[in-house]
Amino acid sequence: MGTVRVINVSERRRVLTFWERIYLPEVWRGLVLTARHFFVNLWRHTLRLFGVKSALPGAATYQYPEVRRPQSPRLRTLHRLAKRPDGTPRCVACMMCETVCPAFCIKIVAEEVDDPNIEKRPKSFDIDIGRCVFCGFCVEACPEDAIRMDTGITEIGALSREGMVLNIDTLLSLPPKSERGDKPVDFLQQQLVQ
């Protein structure tokens, strides 16, 4: 760990040299740089086209639907509600997530349970994914570790605004990514099925 150097804006804005101010050499350098990329990449693409598999790819991008970017385990993806071993939601409807949510996208209604050791549970638990900003505050705020953002689902879509509101059953049914593996979930499909 090196020390962090604080650079003032005035300091950063250094005086340009004569050649830089003329601009043309810099333009030239820029063109050379981009042109080099162009030709190198074109060469690699061409090699590939003719079946010569170069170790170096011509592009840094992922071919998205077929190839997916590996997700960091900390990536905040679609929410789910964790369950107790007996299948009931861990959530006790404390409203912490609802309170902390900066997008006001969580709506919980609490109800009383007869079991004095649980006392309280969510009657309904809706997340409006259309409003969610995926900040993860709800996960941070949850004292019961009930709401988690570990489904690995990032493709979220629906055909209506109402379809973007996930209810408690959906949230409880979503598996964590660790259980689901890399198998992609067509989330839209799931929504439509309901």
């Binding site: 409807a93 609802e98 609490a110 009383e112 309280k120």
Partner: protein, 546 residues
């Protein structure tokens, strides 16, 4: 007057003042659990320990009386360590179930721990298990695990309600707050137990899990349950519409007023908030058009119907056959507006406010009054006093029953608690034009030619006089429910249609006019009434003796 110095601030206080009270006067808040200004001193929580010069040990601020030249320090290292220790002890067996605890957000244990706690726990031991979620009465739920044994509730039932239902049983850390065997906590003030409990041990069953307290907005108001006029706070959930079953008002809490209700309020008043948004609220004007049944209408139609029907009827049968009943559950402003329009504008002579006694009224030594009208005193001053004939409600209903009245205005809900539906139906059957201005639907609105929906006291500003004549102000807590409107506005609109002069539309200006016209209120304004209210009858008594 001993002079005491607390944290370098000096104050003169009367002898017999405790350090905690003196500190409060200086604006220094000493944390406490067992100390409650409305109860005797227990000195058992030890949270209010302070350092007093020349005392070898820390002293409890709640039971140390000030002496001349006493020097108290509340922020020394020793005090801070002691507070941390007390909090640590209290939490040693307190369950950390704040997520399900309804007290969370107004819990003194949470608050003081955030403020004074030591944060790094050294506790490795298991917590004791005690009774969880135990309903001990119709209104109160006990969770003895959460109890910190401050004994406030025990002292409340011993000293205030004097019903002695609660006790602390067992010894040491097995001590447990429980109701006495075979007893349910159902005294008429049991709701106060949830207020005095500094933690979540005693919670209100009615309020439980409806809405978290930090979503509530507090409005200062005055209870309209009886003529005591207890000072209250209306807690409304305006921020999360899906909570509290979609209703706004979530609970009522007593507000301290040493002259009226102290720290307390009765259960009847406490749970009366359900009326505000009950199913039977009249949400829309009802109009009975000629040759048709009663129909829902908009305000324009309803008011034009009142205009037409009343003008027609009075033109036919005369003002002598018209009467007004204004029940004393209305505010001073509303009563004044009634007087202004009907008495002075329309020249109706028969305006009654005096109702028979409430058969269900209860009176006790603490708060409850048998007169269940909030503003009998004010009604007497505003409607009763200038009245020459001063008929009672009884005589007006008799006259109506005898067919002598053809036009009748009924303003306010008061009749319903005094007369049965059958009696009212019988008495009012000969009234041809019956205009009711009510908050709730009832037999009266069924019979009405035009029924106008009015706001309750939670939905408008105003003042009332309690049985001692104390003028107290209440604020609007929630917007009008449904299409109901404040009475003042309605009467202004009606007056405009009739080209009469009405009382001002806003309660504050209306009160200013009232103060100019009724001697009792002279010189008063809303700002002079303030939060605690004033009692002009005492003022006049004081000036009389002077």
């Amino acid at each position: 007057m001993p002079k005491v110095t607390i944290d370098d601030l000096t104050i003169d206080v009367p002898a017999g003042t405790t350090v905690i009270q003196a500190a409060e006067k200086l604006g220094i808040y000493i944390p406490r659990y067992c100390y409650h200004p409305g109860l005797s001193i227990a000195g058992s929580c030890r949270m209010c320990l302070v350092e007093i010069e020349k005392a070898p040990k820390l002293q409890i601020a709640c039971y140390t009386f000030v002496t001349e030249g006493m020097i108290v320090r509340t922020t020394t290292e020793k005090v801070i360590v002691a507070r941390q220790a007390i909090l640590e002890f209290l939490l040693a067996n307190h369950p950390l179930d704040c997520p399900v605890c309804d007290q969370a957000g107004e819990c003194k244990l949470q608050e003081f721990y955030m403020q004074f706690g030591q944060y790094d726990s050294t506790l490795l031991e298991n917590k004791l298990k005690k009774h969880k979620a135990m309903p001990i009465g119709p209104h109160i739920m006990l969770d003895s695990e959460r109890c910190i044994l401050c004994s406030r509730c025990v002292r409340f039932v011993d000293e205030v309600s004097k019903t002695h239902e609660l006790g602390i049983f067992n010894r040491g850390d097995h001590s447990e707050l429980l109701p006495v065997k075979g007893v349910t906590v159902d005294n008429p003030y049991s709701g106060c137990l949830a207020d005095v409990c500094p933690v979540g041990a005693l919670t209100d069953r009615d309020f439980r899990f409806k809405v978290r307290v930090w979503y509530l907005d507090k409005t200062e108001s005055v209870c309209h349950g009886c003529s005591r006029g207890c000072n209250i706070e209306i807690h409304a959930n305006r921020r999360r519409s899906h909570h509290n079953d979609g209703k706004l008002v979530a609970r009522l809490k007593p507000r301290f007023n040493g002259e009226v209700n102290g720290h307390w309020m009765c259960d009847a008043g406490r749970y009366s908030y359900k009326r505000f948004e009950s199913e039977d609220r009249l949400l829309q004007p009802l109009v009975r058009l000629t040759g048709k049944g009663q129909e829902k209408a908009d305000w324009t139609l309803a008011l034009s119907q009142v205009d037409e029907q009343v003008t027609h009827q009075i033109g036919r049968t005369g003002v002598a056959a018209a009467a007004v009943i204004a029940t004393p559950d209305l505010s001073n402003e509303e009563l004044y507006a009634v007087r202004r329009l009907f008495m002075q504008g329309m020249k109706i002579e028969k305006i009654a406010h005096r109702c028979p006694a409430d058969p269900n009224g209860v009176e006790d030594n603490l708060l409850r009054k048998s007169d269940t009208f909030a503003n009998t005193y004010g009604a007497g001053l505003i409607i009763g006093a200038p009245h020459t004939a001063d008929p009672t409600v009884e005589t007006i209903l008799e006259a109506a029953g005898a067919g002598k009245l053809k036009t009748l205005f009924i303003v306010g809900d008061g009749l319903l608690s005094r007369y049965s539906a059958d009696v009212l139906r019988e008495k009012l059957k000969n009234v041809e034009t019956l205009i009711t201005i009510q908050t709730h639907g009832s037999v009266l609105t069924e019979l009405a030619t035009v029924a106008l929906p009015m706001t309750t006291f939670a939905e408008t500003d105003g003042t009332i006089c309690n049985s001692e004549g104390r003028v107290q102000h209440f604020d609007q807590a929630i917007p009008p429910v449904g299409q109901s409107r404040p009475l003042l506005e309605m009467l202004v609109d009606l007056a405009n249609r009739w080209e009469l002069k009405a009382a001002p539309r806003l309660p504050e200006s209306c009160f200013a006019e009232l103060a100019g016209n009724v001697e009792y209120f002279s010189g008063l304004t809303y700002s002079k009434i303030g939060d605690a209210g004033v009692n002009p009858s005492r003022r006049s008594a004081a000036t009389a003796t002077a």
